[in-house]
């Protein structure tokens, strides 16, 4: 076998063995307390690949050194035939590591977060069950089931909770709904009474009854209203009207209420009313259908639904959000809201407990927004949930199935302009996400995204050191692999066994050799880190990439020179 094919063969063999070792370690070190078992295989594969890629330079060194160190022939020929396969192999491995690295990081982050959310919800569900808070327990269990339905802990808890819910249902006695006291309003009552009177005079006893009843509710001492309500009711009966008219009147009234809310600019309130009507067996009513759809459309423009936020926030989260809204006068092309000189000069800060990306939007939890100018704060608002879409942040969150549950913003100051349900800002969700992700988990961004994130983080007032350091680490990998390959070929060529056939039994030393290489590998990695740190210190920002690349190129060049120099020492074992 020539040394070219031998290098490929040995490298593939060593890489496979190393991957198997990393995978074995990942399996052995797997803990169900840390990672949900349903992710076990994916986690172990990702962990093994991460370890494999991090040790790639060392493996490349070992492969080249072993391949050449066990080959017969003249040093010059060996090195010459080793160059091409070593370069091809190094290029393939470096490209694989650069492409797969961010995906592995991203996958691991997602699994880690989902497992943490699972554990937290499982504990909360158990606590809720023990405390008798079955509703909370059910909600938390639903989250666990969304992550790992077949997990034995979830199945067991489901049984316990179902039993507890059944028991509670059997024991429960329906309580009459308490009557809500009506606020007394004699003026409004009189207006309603006059309208009722007008309707009665026209012979519309249905409307007369409804208005008179409303007037009587608003002012119980209003005897005229009660009398009119009674007479109009008798008239309805006398005409053979269905007693269900009262129900229809209530339905009519609710429709009117919803319609009024929609027209007065409260689509969330309108959606709540029409959703209730639709749920109360009026879904076939054409008005209800029409206004429900209309209010839903309007709601989605001014607010968002909590299930969207929950879905996003139950996946991968970025914690501790803090960034500045970029100044549009400095940074063009962000799109979104209109450019305002007054706003451009102001300080605009966004803070949130955490954020998550989903379907082109960025969702925040425990959101806060500050806008301050020369005269002090112009706007200060907080909202339990917020959603950033192109050019605006929606602050009102509605529960889709229970529209009466609305999470509204609280404005301490402002709003300086526009509606209170949203803030118009020149923000692009994708850029904002990239900027915040670059601080917490830069390794999960693709190379292209990471490159763009350097500028984004600066524009958003986020420390760009983590993303630059990550880019430096990524750019170091190809150099490390090529340098290790060259060094491996050099060492293998120089320290090879001469004369006779190579005893196959010596390959058994491979694990020992790999272990012996560990201290050297660790020290080399630290020196590589030192080059990165020093480059950042000398030339902060993206320029440090050039400096580090320059230093590493010099190191690689020196190693190649050494490797080339090895050609002339054929004959001596070590010189």
């Amino acid at each position: 076998m020539n040394s070219g094919r031998r290098i490929f063969g040995v490298a593939v063999l060593i890489d496979l063995l190393a991957f198997a070792c990393f995978f074995g370690y990942a399996v052995a070190s797997f803990s169900a307390d840390r990672i949900v078992p349903v992710f076990a295989l994916r986690w172990e594969m990702a962990e093994a690949l991460r370890g494999f890629f991090s040790a790639l330079a060392g493996l490349q060194f070992l492969a080249l050194a072993m391949a050449l160190g066990s080959t017969k022939g003249k040093a010059q020929e060996l090195v010459q035939t080793a160059i091409l396969p070593a370069v091809i192999l190094s290029a393939i491995l470096a490209a694989s590591a650069l492409i797969a690295g961010p995906q592995i990081e991203s996958r691991q982050s997602g699994i880690r977060w989902a497992s943490a959310a699972f554990s937290s919800s499982l504990s909360a569900a158990r606590a809720g069950l023990e405390a008798g808070d079955l509703v909370r327990s059910r909600e938390e269990l639903k989250l666990c089931q969304a992550i790992a339905r077949k997990d034995p802990r979830v199945v067991e808890l489901e049984k316990l909770l179902s039993t507890a819910e059944l028991t509670a249902l059997r024991k429960s006695i329906p309580l009459p709904a308490p009557a809500l006291p009506q606020p007394k309003d004699p003026i409004a009552a009189k207006d309603y009474y006059l309208k009722a009177l007008a309707f009665a005079e026209k012979g519309d006893y249905f409307s007369a009854n409804w208005y008179a009843s409303t007037a009587a509710r608003l002012d119980p001492s209003y005897t005229d209203a009660r009398r009119l309500a009674a007479t109009s009711w008798e008239e309805l009966h006398a005409r053979g009207a269905d007693p269900a008219d009262k129900e229809r009147a209530a339905f009519y009234s609710r429709k009117l209420e919803g319609y009024g809310l929609l027209r007065s600019g409260d689509p969330v309130g309108a959606y709540r009313v029409f959703k209730e009507l639709a749920d109360a067996k009026h879904a076939d009513d054409p008005d209800v259908r029409r206004y429900l759809a209309e209010s839903l459309t309007e709601t989605e423009k001014a607010a968002f639904f909590k299930d969207e936020a929950d879905s996003a926030l139950s996946s991968y989260l970025i914690p501790d959000i803090f960034f500045r809204v970029p100044d549009t006068s400095v940074r063009a092309g962000l799109g979104g809201g209109a450019k305002s000189p007054a706003k451009a000069a102001s300080l605009r800060i966004i803070a949130a407990k955490d954020a998550a990306w989903s379907d082109g939007a960025l969702y925040f939890r425990e959101f806060e927004y500050l806008e301050a100018g020369a005269s002090g704060p112009r706007a200060l608002v907080r909202s339990p949930y917020a959603k950033l879409t192109d050019g605006k942040i929606l602050l009102v969150c509605v529960e889709r199935d229970r529209p009466s549950n609305v999470y509204k913003p609280i404005w301490s100051t402002g709003p300086s302009s526009g509606p209170a349900s949203l803030v118009e800002l020149p923000l692009v969700p994708e850029n904002a996400y990239r900027a915040v992700a670059s601080r917490v988990d830069p390794a999960s961004l693709s190379l292209f995204e990471a490159w763009k994130a350097v500028d984004d983080s600066k524009a958003y007032g986020i420390d760009s050191d983590p993303i630059v350091a990550d880019l430096l680490a990524r750019s170091a990998l190809p150099f490390a692999i090529f340098t290790a390959a060259a060094l491996g070929a050099l060492v293998g060529g120089r320290f090879r066994r001469r004369g006779g056939n190579f005893p196959k039994g010596l390959y058994a030393l491979a694990p020992l050799m790999a272990a012996a290489l560990v201290p050297v590998f660790i020290l080399s990695a630290r020196i590589d880190e030192l080059i990165s740190d020093w480059s950042i210190k000398i030339l902060p920002g993206l320029s440090s990439l050039l400096l580090a690349a320059g230093i590493r190129t010099i190191v690689l060049f020196l190693v190649v020179l050494l490797m080339a120099g090895a050609r002339v020492v054929d004959g001596a074992a070590i010189d």
């Binding site: 050194a65 072993m66 160190g69 066990s70 914690p319 501790d320 803090f322 960034f323 500045r324 300080l347 800060i349 803070a351 407990k353 425990e366 806060e368 500050l370 301050a372 002090g376 704060p377 200060l380 907080r382 007032g461 986020i462 420390d463 060492v491 293998g492 320290f495 090879r496 066994r497 001469r498 004369g499 006779g500 005893p503 010596l506 030393l509 020992l512 050799m513 272990a515 012996a516 290489l517 560990v518 201290p519 050297v520 020290l523 630290r526 020196i527 880190e529 030192l530 080059i531 740190d533 020093w534 210190k537 000398i538 001596a572 074992a573 070590i574 010189d575």
Partner: protein
Amino acid sequence: MKAWLGVLGRACLEFAIILVLVSFAAGASVSLAAPSGGLGAIYRSAAEGALDLAPLAAVLTVFLAFFSFEQRVKSRAAGWLGLLVLGALLLSFGIAVRRVALIREAVEGPSRGVAQTAPPFPTGVAVEQGRVALWIGSFEGADALDAVAVDFGSDYPRLAYSPRTGIDPSTGDMDIQGRTYRATLPAARPLNLIPEASLFSGSWIWDRLAAMDDEPLLLSFIAAGGFLLLAIGFRFLCRITGWPLANALLAAAGLAGLVALDAALSGGAVLGIIESLAKRAGLLLPKTILLACVEGIMGLVLGLAELAASPRGRRRFDE
């Protein structure tokens, strides 16, 4: 004799190259903590590093010379002697140069008295301090303008803002909405390339020798001599298997093992045991000498075992 001298000469050249590389690596790591970066800081730190790390460069050279002597010098006793001479020469050089006042002043002068100052607090960038994010728009005299703080560890709402707040110049403390925050950055620290010393109660040989500048010269030579004998004792690694490549890698690991063994032996607990044993034997010697004796004996035993062991395997792979 020619080969013997040739190996010695070549090893001295390797020592110079290794010392330069090691010094620059140490210089770069130390200069990370310097207030201002640049090549000047590296040169100064590298010059200091060259004085401190000469013993490390010497032992690296000795390990490389294992193979050169093994291949070039037929007599193993001559090889052993060559290593001893080489090590003694290089270590003595390192120890002696440290003690030349002119060199020490020239090397340490420029950096002496330079206080490590914390870098200035950046403006326009959120700075994380634990779970607190601190933002300062700009500085105006001793005041911070547009100061924003968010403590993510506290209850919601968390955002605090002050359009202008005074900063205590001595502590960096500032008040934002009734709570004190510290607008300072931690001083930069050097990157420790070999932090494993913390695993042992002892210290690295080069640190110990550097700390002996004010001790008698003979004591430094004894300490270095003991370590050198122990290092030469590891010579067996250069022909422990029939594959030179495996031997080279095992020797690299052996070097790490040697340094770690020395650090472990120099630790208080082990040294205490050695001292108590010596007292029982009636030897009332300083700890440094006791340690050197133990290391020297260990090295001699390993060396004798190697000499007495299998005949040279050089021919097996040098045919």
